[in-house]
Each structure stands twice: as structure tokens, then as C-alpha cells.
């Protein structure tokens, strides 16, 4: 029998503090104790999570397909890299630029996309992801982009943690913290947006476009804006990634990353906020896992590790679609709901039981004596 906890109650707050606090502690622990290469991995997780969050806005919440968000990711990475290493901008100043740039390009792509059906949008965005490396390598632009070799931003590696931190972290650790904090802010923003009228409008749009239009939610503006915002998110994710791992190249925005983002989204959970983090974890750690399996499986040799990772992504994608279409987060929530349920605070029940109809959502909480139907 699941335990019911009212949202906003002290018990709920405690639960939240433990949860988020635990994550904060975990992050600090990683930053302070883990070796550099692993810290970088986790940074990548956070950066990718932001990008996956952006992708989620488009696919999960506004119902459009984008197979090419990696292009925006790469765009953001290049923006920050170029501004910092060639023009000496401070990193934080590049974030709004990245967001804006991604948003504008996203708007440009998203606007005409209104005319075409979902599958075509998939094709166009896929085309975008495949085109990105080629565009980045254009010889005319190579002064700016570094051509096929990309760019490295050495100044990031000289970042030092500020003195007022109560604990000791090296450069990688400090940058990891910055990425996490920025990511957390973005997650908070996204979370609030989703719960607001905007989020509901998007969901209405996703599920029933005609119905939404009739209610005053006009598809064109909302969908394009959703696409633009999500592109902006992806771009910021790219900027964060280049901060953590100060290298950007043409493939940063290419097909492989596009697939990774989709995979992360699907595995983590479409239309969930926390799924983005899980998605990021999946993207980064799956190849690590499969590397160690390389020698054991009959067909794959040690050196085939990236292939095995791809195969694993593919199998996971198909498995999730069949078994867990809501992703891992859905599954976790499902399991959790057997133990604990969070209910919104409800108005006090009226004294005469016959007055108040029993809404289905209360099915688990109404005392049996009322004789209401259990849904």
C-alpha cells in the first residue's frame, strides 16, 4: 500500500531536501575526489543533459521530431570556443550569445518546418546534423573554425577554483561544478516553464493540435518558439561541454552526437525533466561499459569498442520503445509509486459525503467507508 505524501507538506519538503541535497553532495564528491578523466566524463554528462533537455522540449513536449539537435550543440560549442580563444571574451558572457545564436538559428529552421509533416522534419533535421561537419570544414571558414582540426581553448585549462570554496578542487573539478550549477539553473527554468501555462499549452499542442488551436493556442507561434528555445538550450549545452572538455571539432555537431542525444532522450524518458540527466549518463557511460565487454562477446574484438557501444545504443533504443516507452524515469516513477505517492494538496472534503463526487485521482485515498468506486 503506497504511502501518500502531500505536496508542500513537511514530509514532502524533507524528501526533496534529501533528494536534491544528495545530488549536490554527490556532485561535490565527484569534483573533489575523482580523477580528472572521470570528472570530465561527468561534466560531459551534465552538458549533454542540458542538450537532451532542449531536445525534450521539442520532442517530448511539443511533439515535433528533431534528429539534428547536435547541430545546435556544435554551434554553441564553436561559439564559445571562438569567442573565448580568438576574441578573449570571458566564458560566462558567451553563454547568452550561445543561447541567442542557437535560438535564432533554431527559429529559422523551425519556422518553415511548420509547413511540413513530422517525418519530413525528421529528415530535414537529420540532414542538418549530417551537414554540420561538412559546413564546419568549409575552407573559407577555416580561419574562424579551425577547419577539420577544430579548436582548443587552452585558457579554460587555466581556470582555478576561487578561494572562498570550503573545499579543494582542481581546474577540472571547478569547471565541472560550474557546468553543474549552470545546468541546475537551466533545469530549474525548464521545470518551471513546463509546470506553467506555457508547458500546458505545449502539451495541449502535442496531443491535439486542432483542439489546442480552438482553445487559443496557435500552433505556429508556439511550435516555432519551442523549437527555438530548445535549440538555445542545446547550444548552451555545447558551450558547457567545451568548457569542460576544451576541444571542439566538426564532429561535435555531427550525426553521431545527434544519435547520442536521441538515444539519451529516449532512454532517460521523453517528456520528463529528470530523464535528461539519466540520458546524459547513459550517453557517456554506455561506451565505457561496453568497452569492458569487448573481449567477451563472440563477434566483437577489443578494438571494436565503439561499434559495440553503437550496437548497445541500438538495442537499448528498440528495447525502450517496446518495453519502456516512457524511458527509465517512467520506470523509476512506476516503481516508486508502489512505495510512495505525492499528491497535490486537496481542499477539505465536505461534511456530507454525497455532495462531493469522487474524482478518479483520489481513488487510492478515499476511505473505503464512502463506498466510492476505486478506479
Amino acid at each position: 500500500m503506497p504511502k501518500i505524501i502531500e505536496k508542500g507538506s513537511p514530509a514532502h519538503r524533507l524528501w526533496q531536501v534529501i533528494g536534491y541535497g544528495g545530488i549536490a553532495v554527490l556532485i561535490i564528491w565527484i569534483a573533489t575526489t575523482q580523477p580528472d578523466f572521470r570528472v570530465q566524463r561527468f561534466s560531459a554528462v551534465a552538458a549533454l543533459a542540458v542538450a537532451v533537455l532542449g531536445l525534450n522540449l521539442v520532442i517530448g513536449y511539443s511533439g515535433q521530431i528533431s534528429l539534428g539537435h547536435s547541430a545546435f550543440f556544435g554551434l554553441g560549442a564553436y561559439t564559445s570556443a571562438i569567442l573565448v580563444s580568438d576574441y578573449g571574451w570571458p566564458f560566462y558572457a558567451t553563454l547568452p550569445v550561445s543561447l541567442l545564436f542557437g535560438g535564432v538559428v533554431g527559429f529559422i529552421i523551425g519556422l518553415p518546418a511548420l509547413r511540413i509533416r513530422g517525418l519530413y522534419l525528421a529528415l530535414v533535421t537529420l540532414a542538418l546534423a549530417i551537414a554540420f561537419p561538412s559546413i564546419a570544414k568549409i575552407s573559407q571558414l577555416s580561419d574562424l573554425t579551425g577547419g577539420a582540426n577544430g579548436k582548443t581553448v587552452d585558457s579554460f585549462r587555466t581556470w582555478e577554483a576561487p578561494g572562498w570554496l570550503p573545499f579543494d578542487v582542481n581546474s577540472d573539478g571547478w569547471r565541472f561544478l560550474v557546468v553543474c550549477i549552470t545546468g541546475a539553473v537551466l533545469f530549474l527554468v525548464a521545470s518551471n516553464v513546463i509546470r506553467s501555462r506555457v508547458g500546458r499549452a505545449l502539451l495541449a499542442l502535442r496531443d491535439n493540435e486542432t483542439g489546442a488551436a480552438v482553445s487559443g493556442v496557435y500552433p505556429a507561434g508556439w511550435k516555432t518558439s519551442a523549437f527555438a528555445v530548445s535549440a538555445g538550450f542545446a547550444a548552451v549545452g555545447g558551450s558547457l561541454q567545451v568548457l569542460a572538455i576544451p576541444v571542439v571539432g566538426p564532429d561535435t555537431g555531427g550525426f553521431v552526437v545527434a544519435i547520442e542525444l536521441i538515444t539519451g532522450l529516449v532512454i532517460g524518458g521523453i517528456a520528463t525533466i529528470s530523464g535528461a540527466v539519466l540520458g546524459g549518463l547513459a550517453i557517456v557511460w554506455l561506451p565505457e561499459l561496453t568497452k569492458s565487454w569487448g573481449g567477451y562477446l563472440p563477434l566483437f574484438s577489443e578494438s571494436d569498442a565503439p561499434l559495440l557501444a553503437n550496437a548497445a545504443y541500438g538495442i537499448l533504443l528498440i528495447a525502450v520503445v517496446f518495453v519502456m516507452p516512457g524511458g527509465v524515469v517512467w520506470f523509476i516513477r512506476f516503481v516508486r509509486s508502489k512505495l510512495v505517492r505525492f499528491q497535490p494538496r486537496l481542499p477539505a472534503a465536505s461534511s456530507a459525503p454525497e455532495d462531493a463526487p469522487v474524482p478518479a485521482v483520489m481513488a487510492g485515498t478515499v476511505p473505503q467507508a464512502q463506498g466510492g468506486e476505486t478506479a
Binding site: R117, A122, I259, D304, L307, I318, V321
Partner: protein
């Protein structure tokens, strides 16, 4: 950064007849292959409204099976190719029945994800089984240096290889066979009926499920054929053989119209010619960017005229 104007970049050699003809011949040959891939896209799209993003990998795997049979074991091509095409047909049908059908009822996005997952799996498995190195390609047509018709002597020469003619012949045969099937047989009529109105097809007693399986199967078989020809043309093959070809196939299908067989052929030829000719006019477009060109074709067509040249209006968003 400075923009290069188009015309100063025109290749000087362009004004030589032989050179131009060679370009055209090459473009046509590539175009034939793109047309075949576009056909695979159209066949599935017409009845199901889906795009199979794994089509390229299925084709590559089929090509490697032919490789294993013919290059490695010496089975003659006229036996191996049809044999593997039958296997591909079955494989495509099974994929439709086993993976796509259960999902498509639930969600369209699910099918996209499914085919992406399939892409990854097949790509990895092809590489796992046959390695990541290039191998000598399957060559059903004779392809030693002398096997060609020299039409204009040089320099530069204009010659047409037997294999190029072979590719055109194959395209012609496939299109003819497909046309005959669709327009002249009961099965073909039933297939077109399913493409036109699925619910009414049920009411008329057509086994719709079997038609869908047939569609995927045919696509897979034609895909394998396209892959074998691609390999012949390229001379070597590896596990990424068809990745870009599929993209060109999508571009061709978009251009011609996603539900038009005629469009697939015309679209394929146009894309092939464009790929051959455009770099000549704009010399800053190297081979890298010809891929981007294909992608812009997709983009522009879908934005300006989503139904392509020959597709039906239904293809567009209402």
C-alpha cells in the same frame, strides 16, 4: 572570410565536350543508384507513411552477404544476387511484421526511433562480422580496365564502362518490373489500394498486413541490389557503404515526391547529375559539400513544394 563568386570558379575544362559527356555519364550512373534507393523509400512510404532510416544498413549487409557468397566462396553472381535478394525480402518482411507493426499503432515517433536503433545495430554487426577494413567490392559486371566503350578519343577520353551500362540496365529492369507489378497485376493493384486507402482495403478483403510486409521486403531486396551496384562502382566496400547513398536516396525521393515511383527515378537522375555538375560550376564546393548539396535539396524541396515534382498533395501538411 570572403565569398567566391560562382562564375569565376567555373572549371576551365568544362567547355570540352568529352569532359562534359563523361561528367554526364558519371552523373547518370550515380543517379541510377540513387533512383534505386529512392524507389526503396517510396515503396515503403506509399503504404505505410514511414521512412526506414535503416534501409542503407540493410542494403549494406545484403551486399556483404553477396560478397561472402561470390567473392569469398566463388558462387556465381547470377545465383548469389537473386538469392540474397530473396533473403533480404524475407528479412524486410519480418522486420515489418515483428518490429514495426506492433509499434506503429502506438506511436509514429516510435517507428523512427526503431529504425534508428536498427541502423545502429546493423551497422555494428556488419562491421563486427566483416571487419572495418575495406574489401574488394562485389563486381557482377566485368570491370577490368579494358571493359568499356570508348566513344570519344582524348584527351580527355569519353568512355562508358560496361558496368555503367549494366547499372542503367538494372535500373531499367527494376523500374519495368515494378511498373508491371503495380499496374498490371492483381497483387500490384491491391498494393496500390492499400497505399490509397487502408481502411477500405480491409473492407474489400485485402490482407493489408501481408501487403505491408511485401512493401518492406521489396524495398530490402532492391536496396541490396543498389548496394551491390554501388560497391561495383566504387571498387571497394566497407561497412559504411550505403550511409550516404541512403541520404541521396532520400533527397531524390523528396525531389520526386515521396509517393511517386516515377518521381523516384526522375529525382534520382537529377540528384546524380547535380552532384556531378554543380562542383564544376562552384569550385569551392568540394566533395564534402556535395553531400550538403543533397541535404539542401531536401530542405528546399520540402519547404517550397513538399510533394515534390510528382507526388500527390496528400503528402503535405494540411
Amino acid at each position: 572570410m570572403h565569398l567566391v563568386l560562382a562564375f569565376p570558379g567555373v572549371n576551365d575544362g568544362f567547355f570540352n565536350t568529352s569532359f562534359v559527356l563523361q561528367l554526364l555519364a558519371n552523373g547518370f550512373a550515380n543517379g541510377a543508384i540513387y533512383a534505386l534507393m529512392a524507389l526503396t523509400v517510396v515503396i515503403i512510404y506509399r503504404t505505410t507513411g514511414h521512412l526506414n532510416f535503416a534501409q542503407g544498413e540493410m542494403a549494406t549487409m545484403g551486399c556483404f552477404l553477396v560478397f561472402a557468397a561470390s567473392v569469398e566462396r566463388g558462387i556465381p553472381y547470377w545465383l548469389a544476387i537473386p538469392g540474397v535478394m530473396v533473403i533480404s525480402l524475407l528479412f524486410g518482411a519480418i522486420i515489418e511484421r515483428g518490429l514495426v507493426r506492433p509499434i506503429e499503432r502506438r506511436s509514429g515517433l516510435g517507428v523512427v526511433i526503431l529504425t534508428l536503433g536498427l541502423f545502429l545495430i546493423l551497422n555494428a554487426f556488419t562491421a563486427a562480422i566483416w571487419g572495418t577494413e575495406s574489401v574488394t567490392a562485389t563486381k557482377p559486371f566485368p570491370s577490368s580496365p579494358g571493359d568499356q566503350f570508348v566513344i570519344l578519343d582524348g584527351p580527355p577520353r569519353f568512355f562508358v564502362r560496361y558496368s555503367t551500362i549494366g547499372i542503367w540496365l538494372v535500373l531499367g529492369l527494376v523500374v519495368l518490373a515494378l511498373w508491371a507489378l503495380l499496374q498490371r497485376t492483381k497483387l500490384g493493384l491491391a498494393y496500390r489500394a492499400v497505399a490509397s486507402n487502408r481502411e477500405s482495403s480491409l473492407l474489400v478483403g485485402i490482407p493489408v498486413g501481408r501487403m505491408l510486409m511485401l512493401g518492406w521486403g521489396l524495398s530490402a531486396a532492391i536496396g541490396t541490389l543498389a548496394a551491390v551496384l554501388t560497391a561495383q562502382k566504387a571498387g571497394t566496400m566497407d561497412f559504411n557503404l550505403m550511409a550516404t547513398v541512403l541520404l541521396y536516396g532520400f533527397a531524390a525521393a523528396a525531389l520526386g515526391g515521396f509517393d511517386s515511383v516515377k518521381g523516384a527515378v526522375v529525382g534520382g537522375v537529377i540528384v546524380g547529375l547535380a552532384e556531378a555538375l554543380i562542383p564544376q560550376f562552384f569550385s569551392f564546393i568540394g566533395t564534402e559539400l556535395s553531400l550538403v548539396m543533397a541535404l539542401f535539396v531536401i530542405l528546399i524541396v520540402l519547404l517550397v513544394r513538399p510533394q515534390g515534382l510528382f507526388g500527390t498533395k496528400r503528402v503535405e501538411r494540411v
